[in-house]
């Protein structure tokens, strides 16, 4: 009885009293993650076209084990289980696309478990990891299965009839230059998702257009490659590959669009993004030219990931109006 009286005398109350701003862009963590997954569709397609339908099993294995590991660890830690937010699936998918064709499914599964377990959850989960989880998974596989992970398959529709080696390895060890047109289309040896520059660019430009990928990172990486790669090429074009070849060959573009741009492990300031991108290219050129590896995108991104907290600290933007004040 008392409650009804209270209800009658009380005017209608609007309970949504959250503070301003009252409007929102509409983006959410899971929407972003699923958009990035979607942007990888062209690369998945080229993987299947050039390396055969079997590759779908690698992708599925990686995704299922990544999502499963995430859910299991969240369950053990008594955290909210967020396997539908698309972030674990994205890690799995990214990992799969960096693996060589016909890679062992059990090793793929191990890579996914490491990527999520050690690359992400051990730091506290989404948003807290320092290194790109997919690359952590891949680095582990590189160490654990060094032979398998550098065993390349000849792609379908290949122009080059001689070898199945990756274009970078072919150049490094045999000074064979692969046509840029083949590098663009993707009928060359390499990891599942990295061979077709066009497919990677379609996804990357889509992500830049919707504002998920900050253009500063891929652009600064490309500029960095022109600078650092260009220096060596300028010194001796026979000995060192041209920057254009370096950009199109291997996983440079895939790394620039999908790996280096991972929000969690890249800088938050615009200036920081430039330093980060240029740094990746510098490290990459050093690895490719002085190191034993023909590749190196993975290591260069992981190395620069470690510098991100420092970069953020040193590139804190100048508060509006402060510069003027100090100049006086």
């Amino acid at each position: 009885m008392e409650t009804t009286i209270q209800q009658e005398t009380k005017q209608k109350v609007y309970f949504d009293l959250t503070s301003s701003p009252h409007l929102h862009s509409g983006w959410s963590t899971s929407k972003v993650m699923w958009f990035v997954n979607l942007a990888l569709a062209p690369s998945i397609a080229t993987a299947l076209v050039f390396f055969g339908l079997y590759q779908i099993l690698i992708i599925l294995t990686a995704v299922i084990f990544a999502v499963g590991t995430e859910a299991l660890i969240q369950f053990i830690r008594k955290k909210e289980i967020t396997w539908f937010d698309g972030s674990a699936a994205l890690t799995g998918l990214l990992l799969a696309l960096t693996l060589p064709p016909n890679f062992s499914l059990s090793a793929t599964a191990i890579g996914s478990v490491v990527a999520i377990g050690i690359g992400k959850q051990i730091f506290g989960g989404l948003g807290y990891n320092i290194f790109n989880p997919a690359l952590v998974g891949r680095a582990f596989l590189q160490a654990a299965f060094p032979v398998q992970i550098t065993t390349w398959t000849k792609p379908n529709y290949a122009v080059d009839t001689i070898s199945s080696a990756t274009p970078l390895a072919a150049f490094k060890f045999d000074k064979i230059i692969t046509e840029t047109s083949s590098l663009a289309i993707g009928n060359v040896g390499g990891s599942l998702g990295e061979t077709s520059a066009i497919a990677v660019l379609i996804g990357g430009i889509f992500l830049m257009a919707v504002g998920i990928v900050n253009w500063r990172i891929p652009i600064s990486m490309i500029i960095g490659m022109f600078i650092f790669g260009g220096i060596f090429w300028g010194i001796n074009p026979q000995q060192y590959p041209s920057p254009i070849f370096q950009i199109f060959a291997g996983s440079f573009l895939f790394g620039a669009m999908f790996m280096a741009t991972d929000w969690v492990t890249s800088p938050i300031t615009n200036k920081g993004m430039w330093i980060f991108g240029l740094g990746i290219s510098l490290v990459l050129v050093v690895i490719r030219i002085f190191g034993g590896l023909p590749e190196g995108v993975m290591y260069s991104i992981l190395i620069m990931n470690a510098f991100v907290p420092m970069i953020n600290r040193f590139t804190k933007p100048q508060t509006f109006g402060k510069a003027k004040e100090e100049r006086k």
């Binding site: 005017q11 109350v13 609007y14 309970f15 949504d16 009293l17 959250t18 503070s19 301003s20 701003p21 009252h22 409007l23 929102h24 862009s25 983006w27 959410s28 963590t29 899971s30 929407k31 972003v32 967020t82 937010d85 989960g125 989404l126 948003g127 807290y128 504002g211 900050n214 929000w263 969690v264 492990t265 890249s266 800088p267 938050i268 300031t269 615009n270 993004m273 804190k316 933007p317 100048q318 508060t319 509006f320 109006g321 402060k322 510069a323 003027k324 004040e325």
Partner: protein
């Protein structure tokens, strides 16, 4: 196109009311006049319970330099003087007046003056008497802004026609409905300040206003209309000054420190009405909008009208309404008690539905940097919010948390849906308290 760096593009929703000419809302049965409708000291009531007042009569006088008098917007009887709820959510001392229902015009007006021959001192005096406060939201007493210290050189006055908050169309309607009065009011401001250059800054999503005003000032050498990029928060003082003059107002400093004064469209008109018509400020022009209100309108409302009356006048709310806001959707305040009155500087009442305010669940910060890129004041919102969460207020102060103007750009853009502004507001409050204590020591 002139603008500032950073900012966002929220959906505008201006179509709801941009073609609705101002309507004059009849006086309600009862008005509530808080004695604090401006920045500065509360006004002092000069009436008591039971007094008869007429529309336009002084009911509370200004107290001290930064203050403004308050006038009754109806004729009737003082019912009570005591704490009443205000749109800020806090109860404030208020004069409640019951209307006798038969007066709609201002009865107790001031003598009209000739805008051509009036002196700068007379303008200031009239603005002070009329109780005019900035119509942009901060409600700073206008005559104070018109009385800069002698050592400040002002070289430009900017009339703020940006109206960058979504939904609001009040300034736009003023610009196209009363352009001549607006320009006359602007000239009064220039005269009071003795400034030779006046700029009207308008976002380019209002081409009609730009066209009309450009046409009207064709033969005025001192005035200029500048079209600005449509981007939130273009209408924020610091952003507008940056876009028009290229200068940045340093933290803790005023626009006049870089030689600029900003006035709102509504303020210029209130000044014109006070001078040429002898009117005191007893009406508020506001946009009543949102998908949750039956008939969105632009209204001229007696100051003190309860929000409920305004909403009823606009046909009431729809069933899916979930949030009622006073002000714009980016910086306004959600209301829990619709007895709260419309104040002098109220610019809008918005009734929003779930569709408009829906948000996804909050997740940990993804360190995407969207808030950093969008912050018009070059702060690092995610870091400020984090300091506030961790109660690291010294670090927050170091990171310039007090510079934040709470424009909402960061939280709008945050994909993790973190209530950044709310956290920053808490931290800012604490830092300001800390600074005050330090001064007291």
């Amino acid at each position: 196109m002139r603008t500032f760096s950073g900012g966002v593009h929220p959906e505008e929703y201006k179509y709801l009311t941009e073609n609705c000419a101002f309507e004059i809302m009849p006086a309600p049965e009862e008005i509530i006049l808080p004695v604090s409708q401006h920045l500065g000291k509360d006004a002092q009531p000069v009436v008591k319970k039971g007094d008869e007042v007429v529309c336009g009569q002084l009911v509370a006088k200004a107290e001290g330099f930064i203050s403004a008098p308050i006038h009754s917007s109806v004729s009737g009887k003082v019912l009570s003087i005591g704490k009443e709820i205000t749109p800020t959510g806090f109860p404030k001392d208020s004069i409640v007046i019951k209307s006798n229902g038969n007066v709609t015009e201002q009865t107790a007006t001031l003598p009209p003056l000739d805008p051509e021959t009036i002196s700068p001192d007379e303008i200031r005096q009239r603005v002070a008497e009329a109780g005019i406060v900035g119509q942009g939201g901060a409600a700073f007493p206008t005559y104070v802004k018109l009385s800069p210290p002698k050592d400040k050189v002002i070289d430009v006055v900017i009339l703020n026609g940006c109206e960058c908050e979504p939904y609001l169309t009040r300034d736009y309607r003023f610009m196209i409905e009363r352009p001549d009065d607006l320009i006359a009011g602007f000239k009064l401001i220039l005269k009071a300040l003795g400034v030779k250059r006046g700029v009207i800054g308008i976002e380019d999503n209002k081409p009609e206003a730009i066209k009309i005003l450009s046409e009207k000032i064709k033969n005025e050498n001192e005035l200029e209309v500048i079209s600005l990029k449509t981007k939130y928060p273009q209408g924020a003082e610091k952003m507008l000054i940056k876009a028009v003059t290229g200068k940045e107002v340093p933290p803790g400093k005023l626009p006049m420190d870089v030689g600029a004064v900003i006035q709102n469209i509504g303020t210029a008109l209130a000044i014109y009405d006070a001078v040429a018509k002898g009117q005191v400020l007893i009406t508020a022009a506001l946009t009543v909008s949102g998908l949750g209100i039956k008939n969105p309108k632009n209204l001229i409302v007696p100051v003190g009208t309860p929000i409920q009356d305004v909403i009823d006048y606009c046909g009431g709310v729809s069933d899916d309404a979930v949030k009622i806001i006073v002000g714009g959707p980016m910086m306004g305040t959600a209301q829990f008690d619709l007895h709260a009155p419309v104040l002098k500087a109220t610019s809008g009442i918005l009734v929003l539905t779930k569709e408009e305010v829906s948000k996804s669940p909050e997740t940990p910060c993804l360190r995407c940097g969207q808030c950093v890129g969008a912050c018009p004041l070059n702060l690092v919102p995610t870091k400020l919010a984090r300091y506030s969460q961790l109660q690291k207020f010294e670090e927050a102060e170091e990171a310039d948390i007090t510079v934040c103007m709470e424009c909402g750009t960061c939280a709008f853009t945050c994909p993790a849906n973190i209530p950044l502004v709310q956290w920053i507001r808490i931290g800012k409050q604490k830092v300001l308290e800390m600074q005050k204590e330090r001064v007291n020591k």
